[in-house]
Amino acid sequence: MIRRIYHSLGVQKFIRNRLALAALAVILLYFAAAGVVLLGGITLEEATQRAGPDNVPGFLETAAPEKRLQFCRFYLEPVERALKKKDPAAALREIAFAERRAAEKPAAELARIVESAFEIVDELSESENLYDQPALLPRLAALEAKVDSLYAPLEGSEVFWRRLRLSLGTDRQGRSIAIRAVYSIKVAVQVGLVTALVSVFVGSLLGGAAAYFGGWMDHLVIWLYSTFSSIPSLVLLAVLVYMFTGSPFEGTLIPVYFALCMTSWIGPCRITRGEVLKLKELEYVQAAASIGFGRLYILLRHILPNTVHLMLINFSLLFISAIKAEVILSFLGLGVKNEPSWGVMINYSTQEVINEFFWQIGAATAFMFVLVLAFNVLSDALQDAFDPRTVLVSAKER
């Protein structure tokens, strides 16, 4: 059976398409990443904790002197505050920016360093524009060294993790963009998989049954899908998500799944119905009927397996539209609220873009772009290999 599938014309054609295989590899990589996140590789806490100062630029960009001064101040202040408390040692232990923790030095020594560091800060703050005064840059470097000595040196793998965490910078609340972008893969893959699987399953079954049984079943299914497709999808999505406000599911992925499944079964249903209308007239179906097989059995055993290629193509297309829709819903404030997702990130980044900080929108876009591109390439290849006659059955969405 497997060998027969492997040697079939469509599969062979698909395998010869190098680009499609590369896209498939990319998709599997994303799925693996989602699996790692799901199994606890990155916890939600890690994605929402403060990793450093606000809007640290990513790996390619060196921060402007003003920014560097600001960052130094950011790292100085909690230590200063902790030293003023009744129990400085306990307060110091509580300081944590992911891996970065306060140094285990006597409080008096730390206080000395803080004091001398603030002297430099005051001195540097006096000058209006640090760009124009290269003479002050060594002072800034000295300040940074002092600030570094306030914190425990990172050891072994910590250095690597710290670098990775700040590789794409931090957002307006000092959270690591890289971690959030990777965590969002989980949300995207979850939404895509659930929506695409449920919609393809329900759509194919309904479409197949409508075409094969005909009669009132056909009328009912056509009425159902024309009804659902006659409401602009964004409006329907908004109303369906709105149904959940006030319920314990508000802000989770459940309303998103529900809304997306309710709107996306239509595409596969329509296409499967068309295909089954053709298939049911073929001789092998008539032969099966004449042997005396039941109608349901023929539909499930003989007809629907012959539409698997359409299911595959639809799965791929729906995956794309689900990810895009999830991002739009999150952007409108109707999607997930307690987890990061690419839409949430893009929504956050609108304030940063005005301040010319592009790391967050860039990271979210890049991560999403690669996945959607891979699926677009895969859909094209699947269509080429298995359904070359149809011009384009692309599910049209934005």
């Binding site: 006659s230 602009p232 369906l240 005005i354 390439v377 934005r398």
Partner: protein, 317 residues
């Protein structure tokens, strides 16, 4: 022909009834009165409000009442969020700003993407075609939001900051033709860019399919020039898929423009509906969704009629 139109209209009546039914049901799953009054309202307040809004009656009677209102175009239900304004006032105020974006966007998208589709089909297999199609796939893979956010940044901030040239306003809307380009041109251009990827690919596929037909060979054999074959013979025959695609896009444009309207603060239908949903302004949500669905169905019927005009075979089936 008239019989065909009548048949299409009748066919869509149950569909519209179904839409209204589902929408009204979905809007009542989460009790709209509690949502609007808040959890602290007293039982008496609730009942008084329900009686005033007519929400205390059984669902089917509400359904019949709303259908009657729709049939007589009576949208006088008062908005909860903005007392004193009826749903009709809000609707009428929102139509023009919506059309100010939708229509130019649709025309521009269709013209440009048909032109690109023709070009790609003409040069099919060569590097021009490849480059265009790669660009289309790349463009399709970027989220709409990125187009909007970056489009607004570069169009309204960056140009002003670096070139001192500010052709576009950041957001907002003012009625009148003279201020159209400052407020609406940028959203229109962005939505054209968004729609481009899918549309050029579709038009190219249609044109390439037509290229292989016998009548093209015949026209060539008879000595028609490349231009004539492309624009007269092929374009005319490709009209059916083109019209379908434009008409399919129409309702999606309404949907797609919701995002533009929200982001650019244009008081169109989509933005009004979305703010009503967030403000739990139940009567407005109900009327607006009903209007959206009606628009959708009317465009569907119009598509069918155009079909029948361009291809008489459709009428008979």
């Amino acid at each position: 022909m008239w019989f065909y139109i009548l048949r299409r209209l009748l066919y869509n009546v149950p569909v519209y009834l179904g839409i209204i039914f589902f929408m009204m049901l979905a809007l009542r799953v989460n009790d709209p009165i509690w949502a609007f009054l808040g959890k602290n309202a007293s039982r008496e307040q609730y009942e008084a409000f329900a009686a005033k809004a007519g929400l205390d009656r059984p669902f089917l009677s509400q359904y019949a009442r709303f259908l009657a209102d729709l049939a007589t175009l009576n949208f006088s239900a008062e908005s909860w969020d903005q007392p004193g304004k009826s749903a009709r006032d809000l609707l009428l105020a929102a139509i023009v700003p919506s059309l100010a974006i939708t229509i130019p966007a649709l025309i521009l998208t269709s013209l440009v993407s048909i032109a690109i589709g023709l070009a790609a089909a003409h040069f099919r297999g060569r590097w021009v075609d490849r480059a265009l199609m790669i660009a289309a796939v790349l463009g399709m893979s970027i989220s709409v939001l990125v187009y909007i956010v970056l489009g607004q940044y570069f169009g309204a901030f960056w140009l002003k900051k670096h070139f001192g040239w500010s052709p576009f306003e950041i957001a907002g809307y003012e009625p009148g033709l003279s201020s159209w380009s400052t407020y609406c041109l940028l959203p229109v251009l962005i939505s054209v860019a968004v729609a481009m990827g899918y549309d050029t690919r579709f038009y190219r596929a249609v044109m390439v399919e037509e290229c292989g037909r016998d009548y093209i060979t015949t026209a060539r054999a008879k000595g028609a020039g490349a231009g004539k074959v492309l624009f007269v013979h092929m374009l005319k025959n490709a009209m059916i898929p083109i019209i379908t695609n434009i008409m399919i896009t129409l309702p999606f444009l309404i949907g797609g423009e919701i995002l533009m309207e929200v982001y650019f603060n244009i008081p169109g239908m989509g933005r009004r509906l979305l703010t009503a949903i967030v403000a739990k302004d139940f009567p407005v949500v109900q009327v607006f969704t009903a209007m959206f669905a009606a628009l959708f169905i009317l465009t569907n019927i119009l598509t069918d009629i155009l079909y029948a005009i361009f291809d008489p075979r459709v009428r008979l089936s």
